[in-house]
């Protein structure tokens, strides 16, 4: 098992994107952000106690971490470095909205130790960006990426959305090409899922967006185009150049330990999944009082199957059988998958193809039924 990861949740953003179901609060006062920073630092201290916990990834996600004052982010990172045993070559990521950073801030972040930055670019089409409620244009995003490169970031990731309102196959391919022409090594390409209760959860948006079948087509086109541009797929929605996978995200799929800190953050430590309540004020008051157990005995077979099949590393048949999986069922299904170009069983490893990734819920259910 690899070293652990640390995830810091920053539940603030400038404005809430209409499709977003993550926990974040727009328009929070600077004062509260600082209180939250204090709480995080206290929480980090209490979490580690006197233990030496070895970690090699730190990830600041949100929300939009970069709406926080720089020195706050840096204080938190320093607290992590002080209290956790952060390895020399660690991957330290910060998510950023292209509209909330400038050259100076990027230089400051890089200097303080962040070595990976992930921009929520989403599209290279301004009309699509507007429909997503994004506050930035693509030009702005391009400037931010170049500024990050200038600031010394050589591990830059961008998000791209598939199946959004007004998107066509042509505009999607243009977005892929535009992103690939930038100095980035990683792309997370998500199919839009309309979450209950978000402003996107309405008939109008559904009618403007690709339906399920069309989204599948768009996804396959995007995967193909990304590969043509030298981005290798390593997970359903993750692509990288030169093997530059997100080491932090890989921990989720490999079931490595991760410490999530901050309101609504999730953790998986020592075989237990737990999380903090989504309540900023309670967190500020007493972080440890917000912890709730989510699953104290996760079914390993289930989790292994569902997580390993997300990645191109695939599912190891021996491991699956060792955990109690039904290998006959697997063999039968694998033959069917192979016939339909959805997966391949090779040297004891079942790997899904992009077509298979698209229906991986069904595949997992069939394997575990």
């Amino acid at each position: 098992m690899g070293k652990a990861g640390v995830y810091i949740h920053i539940p603030f953003c400038k404005s809430k994107c209409p499709y977003c179901a993550f926990f974040s609060k727009p328009g929070t006062s600077r004062e509260q952000m600082l209180e939250y920073t204090d709480a995080l630092c206290r929480d980090i201290k209490e979490t580690t106690g006197s233990r030496s916990i070895e970690v090699d990834t730190v990830y600041f996600g949100g929300g939009t971490p970069t709406v926080m004052p720089d020195n706050a982010l840096i204080r938190i990172l320093n607290a992590v470095k002080d209290r956790f045993n952060v390895a020399e070559n660690s991957e330290i990521t910060v998510e950023a909205n292209p509209g909330t950073v400038d050259s100076d801030r990027l230089i400051a972040l890089r200097k303080s130790g962040f070595n990976r930055i992930s921009f929520g670019v989403q599209s290279a089409q301004d009309s699509e960006l507007r429909s997503l409620g994004r506050a930035h244009s693509f030009e702005k995003a391009r400037e931010a990426i170049l500024a990050a490169e200038n600031a010394g970031f050589d591990n830059i990731s961008c998000d791209l959305m598939i199946g959004t309102p007004y998107q066509t196959e042509k505009s999607l391919i243009q977005s892929v090409d535009a992103l690939c022409s930038m100095p980035i090594v990683h792309i997370s390409a998500y199919m839009l899922s309309i979450e209950k209760g978000t402003p996107f959860d309405c008939e109008r948006i559904r009618s403007l967006s690709a339906d399920s079948d069309m989204t599948a087509e768009l996804y396959l086109s995007a995967v193909k185009r990304l590969e043509e541009n030298g981005f290798e797929q390593y997970e359903i929605s993750s692509f990288c150049k030169n093997g530059m996978r997100s080491r932090h995200n890989m921990k989720y799929w490999l079931r490595d330990d991760y410490y999530g800190l901050g309101a609504s953050a999730h953790s998986f430590v020592g075989g237990v999944r737990y999380y903090y309540e989504s309540d900023i004020l309670s967190y500020i008051k007493d972080p440890k009082n917000c912890i709730r157990t989510e699953d104290n005995m996760p079914n390993e077979l289930e989790e292994y199957t569902m997580l390993s099949l997300r990645t191109t590393d695939g599912l190891n048949v021996n491991r699956f059988a060792f955990l109690g999986g039904d290998s006959d069922r697997l063999a039968k299904l694998a033959a069917k998958l192979e016939k339909n170009d959805m997966g391949r069983l090779c040297n004891g490893v079942l790997r899904l193809t992009p077509k298979g990734f698209l229906v991986s819920n069904g595949i997992i259910c069939s394997l575990l039924a």
């Binding site: 399920s212 991760y258 999730h266 999380y275 569902m306 997300r310 339909n340 698209l358």
Partner: protein, 600 residues
Amino acid sequence: MKRENIRNFCIIAHIDHGKSTLADRILEQTSAVALRDMEEQLLDNMDIERERGITIKARAVKMKYKADNGEEYIFNLIDTPGHVDFNYEVSRSLAACEGAVLVVDATQGIEAQTLANTYLAIEHDLEVMPVINKMDLPSADPERVCAEIENIIGIPAMDAPRISAKTGKNIHEVLEKIVTDIPAPKGDPDAPAKALIFDSVYDPYKGVIIYVRVMDGRIKVGDTIRLMATGAEFLTVEIGSMGATELVPTGVLCAGEVGYIAASIKYIGDTRVGDTVTTVENPCKEALPGYKKVNPMVFSGVYPADGAKYQDLRDALDKLALNDASLSFEPETSAALGFGFRCGFLGLLHMEIIQERLEREYNLDLITTAPSVVYKVTLTNGEVKFIDNPASYPDPVIISLAEEPVVKASIFTPSEYVGGIMELCQQRRGTFKDMKYLEENRVELHYDLPLNEIVYDFFDALKSRTKGYASFDYELTGYQASKLVKLDILLNGETVDALSFIVHADSAYSRGRRMAEKLKENIPRQMFEVPIQAAIGGKVIARETVKAYRKDVLAKCYGGDITRKKKLLEKQKEGKKRMRQLGTVEVPQEAFMSVLRLDD
């Protein structure tokens, strides 16, 4: 009580013409029921009876009435089921009476069941006493209805009481007419005992209780009775009459009287409706005429939606059968549906009622296969087989003659719908017999129809084509040769036994196509595409494809999503459980149900 002061009668009516309401009023005004026990429509005990406004089981009640002539009379009201499915039971109930009160709705006039029941009553030599009901409604037209009764049925109706069972208007007149118009029972009290069984119910403490009308002689507690058709003998332990809300022991029943006998009888199958009860000590020579063993006409596979509930279903059927000798069932296995029962019913209504009672009273979730009639098949070796299950239909090459049951159907309708009805009957392979104008704009149509064609959705189709105005009745007349084929449905190349059915060759193509279409609508898209085929023998006559779905994945799965995603998968797996796994295809229960309703 003198025999001359007994009146045994029933009430007959078309559905919703107010039979049960009138019965309630009569009970009330003869003080058979204390007001506090009065519950609307007392005779219809079951929820389903009250809701549907129909009587499923016969019931009887004894009342005392002090007439205007100063004498006291005993009224035995025998409530009859009103539906054709229970025709035999109706005929036995009628045989227990001397008269029938015919209720006709003053706004509707004569309907199909009015006529069917009246003819049945006349056949049994009953005095038919018409009553015009629903006079409280503004659209009541008693003159027209009277004329209809006189012209169509041919009995005098001008002095028929015009009543409102709902408001209680003129009920007294009805009671007086029962005294004056309906004859007292005949019969010899000193002859050997001879009583007609017209119903039986199961009581957990007393065993089967039989309801009888004593024709001759007397039966008392301590007598050993013999049921002549089955030959079974029992020692009577309790004898009495039916009060409105409870049984009243009297110890003896004499010629002309109606009452009950309890004799520690375990199986309702021993006590057949229509059978004759006599005593072992002084047996009568001949049984009463008219007894027959009723055979189910419609069969269907009944399966628990959840296979684990098989035993519950068996228990429920056992319990229902305690009170319903006409319900038959035996275990059946289907590759598609697992373990269940092949159930036989008197008709469609009977089937629906049993299914509904199983679901409601026993909380079972059921999957039922398409109803099938009983086909008569003569094999090339001369052997004759009766087939009630498509699964056991013989290979066509060894069939020399296939026959199907036919019914004589009569349909009453406003004349404007005649065209639509004829078209429907034509589609259902009906043979037109005749058409009579009952009035200027009301028509009676007669068709011979294969029973097979009306067990699917004929009632619904008729209703929708006539805005509910037509009424329909049928009786089984026999078998006729027919070009029958077995239609199979294949999913992903495998035959689904539970979906096979027998159909006339001419409608096989269209029905096969509609089945395939319906299934396509009701089988959700799955990971792989699902071909649906309808085939006769090896020949595919219709094909549809359920396309594979393309995407079901959650694009994101980071630290906070894992448990959520697991829950989603659980849900998806739960959803799978509600489906029937047929080979590699998952079929929801609704798909089975939907193909039963193939209305065009």
